[in-house]
Amino acid sequence: MPNLIKVVAAGDVDSGKSTLIGRFLYESRSLPNGLVEDIEEECERLGRNFEFAYLLDSFDEERKNELTVDTTQSFCKSGKNSGILFIDVPGHRELLKNMLSGASYADTAVLTIAINKPIREQTKRHAFILKFLGINKIITVINKMDLSGFDRNDFLRIKEQVRVSLEKLGIESCAYIPVSASNGDNLLRRSKNTPWYHGKTLKETISGIRIKKRKESLRFLIQDIYDIAGESVAAGIIISGGLKIKNRVFVLPDKKEVQVKTIRYSGKKVSSATAPLAAGITIKDTFSLRRGQVLSGSRMPPVVKEISGRIICTEDIELNSDLYIRCAMQEEKVKITRINHLWDTSDLSPKNPPLKKNDLAEITLSFNRGIVMEKYNFSDLLGRFVLVDNRDRIAAIGGAV
């Protein structure tokens, strides 16, 4: 599906994220035969009314406890050549890692708010994480409108509260849609229950979102070195731009200029290659290529030994513990040399060290050797990083400021 948009449903526990996606899939006729019947049977067994959320919450325990534990994805055809990939994530604070695993796929987000509940810190935290991940297009749905009798004033009141909360976090929502996820109001069809609402449905809003394309200069990331027919081939992926044999390119972080001798794709030698492609190259020069290096044209990305980075901690971090930075296929030992700012992710209020799980921080990182890093841009493999501890556990995710 060339026009595929990936949408994460974020928001507080019980705001109706899974139900929203489930109902959307149902209305768009994206479900195979038998699935709805299976779920009807299951709901009967558990003595419940039909639950659209079960289309996403497939684990036994998730259904019994009515709580999404892990992220999931579901595809929905939205037009002849277009589709929506919905990503469901848990709302619970303790399940931040599962939320991040899902949200890291997303192009855009639907922030789900329940009309009958005050806006709690978890909504703000999710909204902030989305912004942090570079998801700038956020659609807000005010859900469970049926519980307020589809009251316009209730909608406007909550909308204003959300708008003010988001503004404090520096986020602008591109739409506010009154919905009842369990009944399908304003998801695909305009609802008769909200004659006062003249905006777009959720489907129309998602379909109107455009995702920016990436840049065009060469970035070839070396993944591994293979011995192919007696030659040492640097296997990697071209994430942007292209290259030809005899091209002169720069190997970073070494900043060494080399000439491309051969290019391989699949089992063949080819004369040129363009992104996106998994290719292999050899060079004319006596210089050894290795995993983590980046090939670039003359428009080179920065090579840095120290950066200011913004991170979200996914574990508690002790400053003098062993940490490694991973950025694309690069890995280096790293030291947090300074904590410049530290905030609580729920309300962005400043706080004091140490770095705790769920904290947001701006820190200075320094490495023994230079690494290639583009500016803060999460759509770019070289613009984002993770910090891992000596047991391969991800302690923080982030990007260079």
Binding site: P2, P32, F59, T72, F75, K97, S101, Y265, R291, D392
Partner: protein
Amino acid sequence: MTKENGAAYLKERETKSIYIIREAYYRYRDKLALLWSMGKDSTALLHLSQKAFFGRIPFPVIHIDTSFKFKQIYSFRDRLTKEYGINLIIARNEPALKKHICPEQGRYRCCQALKTQALKIVTKKYGLKAFLVAIRRDEHLIRAKERVFSARDENFRWNWQNPSLEMWSEYSEANPGVSGHLRVHPLLDWREIDVWRYTKAERIPILDLYFAKNGRRYRSVGCQSCCQAIPSTASDIGKIIAELGKTKIAERSGRCQDKEKAYMMQKLRSLGYM
């Protein structure tokens, strides 16, 4: 979709999958193996692996042979083993086969013994630590919950309640420890129709069980005893792609083990099933 757009989309899918295959190989080298059922997905995975390493797959390919497979599968397997130059390992749970374990004694027990247990035996015998597995999220609600890199413990258990953080394309948190193993899923993001489009574009050999004969075809191929053909007139890949654009029939609707009992798939998978 325009032809050019479609080709670019498949190239993107291919690049990402090859990236994943190579990451698994980088981490595990000769302790990595590919699970090949001869179905469309794992045959596409085989093809992607060949492309990833420029012509020759540097790790063994395992066929878990329950002995209840379609007979066409065996000749197809032997033909492709030669064509792709594969180092093939056939995994059979001989003790269970001697005891005549079969689907009639209960599918849950049969899948457990002849698939999961057979894999356990071969894992131990060859000291394997990681498997490339061609599951996709859109096949089953339980598989939709998977990670690209997913750890199993020494008893092959899937600790789904404590999954790893998989951030962007950083898969390294999944850690099977000293005694467990890793499942790597390079096709997790692919949809059924993507696999068919890729198979067509790349001219990947395909079992003829997938093509309609006398008004029926197999949509998902496993053991003969537990697979049912669906009504269809799709006699080539182009027609299958057209059919998938319209059908409301679930891909694994012909697979008995998915449906026998509520949560059977969750139970099978939590105990090490693919």
